[in-house]
Amino acid sequence: MNLAIRDNFLKEFIISPTVISQSPDLIKRQQRIAAQGLSYLKAPTVRDEGWRFTDLAPIYDTDFTSPTRETVDHRVIKQFFLPEAKNRLVFINGVYSNEFSDISGSQLGIFVGNLDQYPDKVAKIVEMRFAAGDDCQNLFFPALNTKMVNDLALVVVDSNTKVEKPIHLLHISTGKRNFSNYRVLVALGKGSSASIFEDFVSVNADQNLTNAVVEIAVEESANLNHLKIQREDPSCFNIAYTNVQQERNSQYSYCSISTGSHVDRQDIVVSQIGMDAECRLDGLTFLSGNQTGGFHSKIIHDFGGGTSKQLHKTVVAGKARSDFNGQIHVRPEGHLSNASQSNQNLLLSNKGRINTKPQLEIFADDVKCSHGATVGQLNDEEIFYLQSRGIAFDDARKILIYGFAAEIISLIGIESVATLIREQVLQQTGNKHFL
C-alpha cells in the first residue's frame, strides 16, 4: 500500500471548510467536532487493526469527486419501490429527493422526512442523537460522513406508537466516481415499534463510493426490525457504519444482505444500555469475482439480562475475500447475559479467501456465551444425492448454494424483498427451474 496515495485520498473533502458552513445549524456543532477529529485521523489500511483483511486499496486508487446533481429516470427508480412500504425516503448520491420520496403515510406519532422541514420535537432528537457516540469523531469514515453530510434521513416514532408498514430508505448511487455521504437517524420512543428497510442500489453507476452512517436509538420496550440490502453495481464501493443504542427491555433485529459492490465493508455496534434488551444480528454476504467483503460487529452487553443472537453466512466464489469479525463484550455489570454467535462460510473456489474471527470479551461470570465459525465446501454426498434424482451437477451445486443462503432469506420479514433476494440468488446461481 502506497501511503502517499492513502494520505491524499479524499484530501480535498477532508480539509474543505466550506461543507459545514452550508449545512443546517442543527448539526453544525457535531460536524465541527468531527472535523477536528479528521485533522489527525488517517484512512485505515491493512496495517490497521480491524482492517487487516479488508483491503481498501481499490478505493484509495480511485479519484473521486463530489457528486453533481444527477437525474435518474422515473421508471428506473420506480422499479425499486416497495409495495408493502407506506413511507419512503429516497436519497440520490446522498442528496434527498423530494420528487421520489413519499411521506404521505406519516401519521400521528410518526415523523419520516429530512432536514428541510421538521417539528421541534424532532429537532430535539437530532440535537441529542446526531453523532452522539465517540465513533463519529474517532473513526475515519464515520467522522468523514459526519463532517460531510448536510441532510439526514429521519425516522422518529413517538412513544407507544406502532408503525405497521415498513419504512423504505432507498439510496441510489449513480454517475461516475461520485463520493457520497449518506446519513440515517432512527429514533423509536418508549414502547413503540417499527420496521425499516435500507436499500442500496445503483443506476448507471461506475466506481462510486457510498459512505453511510446509520444511528439508531431504541428506547425502553421499543421494537425495531431493521433490514438492509446492499446490491450496488460491482464497480462501486460501499462503506457503512451502524450504531444502535438499545434501552431496557427493547428489541432490535437486524438482517443484512450484501450482494453488490467491489468493496463492501460494514461495521455495526449494538450497545445494550439497559437491562433485558434483546438483539438479533443476521447476515448474508455473497462474494464472487474480485469482491472484498468485511462484516465487523460489536455487541456490548452493558447491563444484566441482555441477549444477543447472531448468525452470519458468507458465500465466497472466484477470487473474493471475506472478513468476518464478531465481537461480543460483556461488562462486569452484564450479569446473566446470553450471547450466541455463529459465522458460517461456504467456500466455492480455491482462490477465494475467508477470514473469520470471533472475539469474546467477557468480564462477568454468570453469563452464557457461545460462538462457532465454520468454513465448508459443497458436500459431495449432497451433490450426488441430487444428481441421482436427475438434477445436473451444475444445478445441484446451485441448489445447494441456495439452500445454504435460504436460512437467512427466510428471516427477511418483508415478503417482496424476500422474493427479490430469492430470485437474485437463484439468478446468480442461475437456476430458473427452481422454486
Binding site: D380, E381, E382, F384, Y385, L386, Q387, S388, R389, G390, I391, A392, F393, D395, A396, I399, L400, Y402, G403, F404, A405, A406, E407, H433, F434, L435
Partner: protein
C-alpha cells in the same frame, strides 16, 4: 447382443470396483428382466450398498472393469444424472439431508427435469400438487413434509418413506432400494412395502437390498441372492430367504 440381453432390463457382467486397492465388487454378475423383483441379502460389508452406488454412478466408487448394460445402453459411460433420467433410481440406505431446500421444490425439480429430458411439458406448482396427492396418500405422508427441507430433521423412518415418495414421483424403470425397510416400524413397513408393490409393474424392475425376510412377506421377489465379498454366491427363491432367517449366513459362506 444375445437374445437374453434384449430381454433384460439391466445386465451386469464381470463388474469390479475398488476403493484404496481394496476390492469391493468382485466379478459381480446380475441380470434383471422387466417385471422382475430381485432381493439381495448378505452380511454387513459384503458390498451391497457399493453395488447400488456403482449402478447409480457415485464418483467415489470407480469401476476397474466390467459392463453394465441398461436397456441396451452402456451405463458406465453416463453421469449419475443421465442414469437417473434414463430410469435408474436408487433408494439410499442413508438418505442425505439438504438444508434450505424444500422437499416440494426438490421433488418438482426432479420430476420436471425428467419430464423435459423426455420432451414432456413441465408441471407448474399447482399441477404438481395434484400429481402428488395420491402418492402422498399411498405412503401416508403428511403434506406438511413438503414444506420442510429435504430430509432435514426427518426421523429414520420418515426419510425412508420420503425415498419411496421420490420413487413414486419419478416412476423409474429400475429401482435399487438399499435397506429401505430398515428402521421402519411395523405399520410403516406395511405402507412402504405396499407402495413398492403398487409401483412394480411388468415393465420395470426392482432390486431390494435387505437384511430381513419380513419385507419379503409383503413383496414376493422372483429371486433371492446372497452377496458375499463382492459377488453373488447363491441364488434361490423366497425359501432361501426363509432359510437364511433361520440359519444365518455361515453355512453358505463356509461352503
Amino acid at each position: 447382443m444375445s437374445a437374453r440381453g434384449i430381454l433384460s432390463l439391466i445386465e451386469i457382467k464381470g463388474l469390479n470396483a475398488k476403493i484404496d486397492d481394496k476390492a469391493i465388487l468382485n466379478d459381480f454378475e446380475l441380470r434383471v428382466a422387466p417385471g422382475e423383483i430381485h432381493a439381495i441379502m448378505g452380511p454387513n460389508g459384503s458390498g451391497k450398498s457399493t453395488l447400488a452406488k456403482v449402478i447409480a454412478g457415485h464418483p467415489a466408487y470407480p469401476v476397474s472393469s466390467g459392463i453394465i448394460n441398461f436397456q441396451g445402453v452402456d451405463l458406465l459411460s453416463k453421469s449419475p444424472e443421465e442414469r437417473a433420467r434414463a430410469g435408474i433410481f436408487m433408494g439410499f440406505q442413508y438418505p442425505v439431508e439438504i438444508p434450505g431446500v424444500t422437499n416440494s421444490s426438490f421433488l418438482r425439480l426432479a420430476l420436471n427435469t425428467a419430464r423435459s429430458s423426455k420432451g414432456e411439458e413441465e408441471l407448474d406448482p399447482i399441477e404438481f400438487e395434484d400429481y402428488l396427492q395420491d402418492k402422498l396418500k399411498m405412503l401416508d405422508i403428511d403434506p406438511d413434509f413438503l414444506a420442510r427441507s429435504v430430509n432435514e430433521g426427518f426421523s429414520g423412518g420418515e426419510k425412508k418413506r420420503n425415498e419411496i415418495l421420490q420413487m413414486a414421483v419419478l416412476n423409474p424403470r429400475l429401482s435399487i432400494l438399499d435397506e429401505t425397510d430398515s428402521g421402519l416400524d411395523i405399520d410403516a413397513l406395511r405402507l412402504v412395502a405396499g407402495g413398492i408393490k403398487k409401483l412394480s409393474n411388468k415393465d420395470n424392475g426392482i432390486i431390494l437390498i435387505t437384511h430381513y425376510q419380513r419385507l419379503l412377506n409383503y413383496i414376493k421377489p422372483d429371486f433371492v441372492h446372497v452377496m458375499y465379498k463382492g459377488s453373488i454366491i447363491k441364488t434361490g427363491g423366497v425359501d432361501l430367504a426363509l432359510e437364511l432367517e433361520d440359519r444365518g449366513y455361515d453355512w453358505i459362506v463356509s461352503d
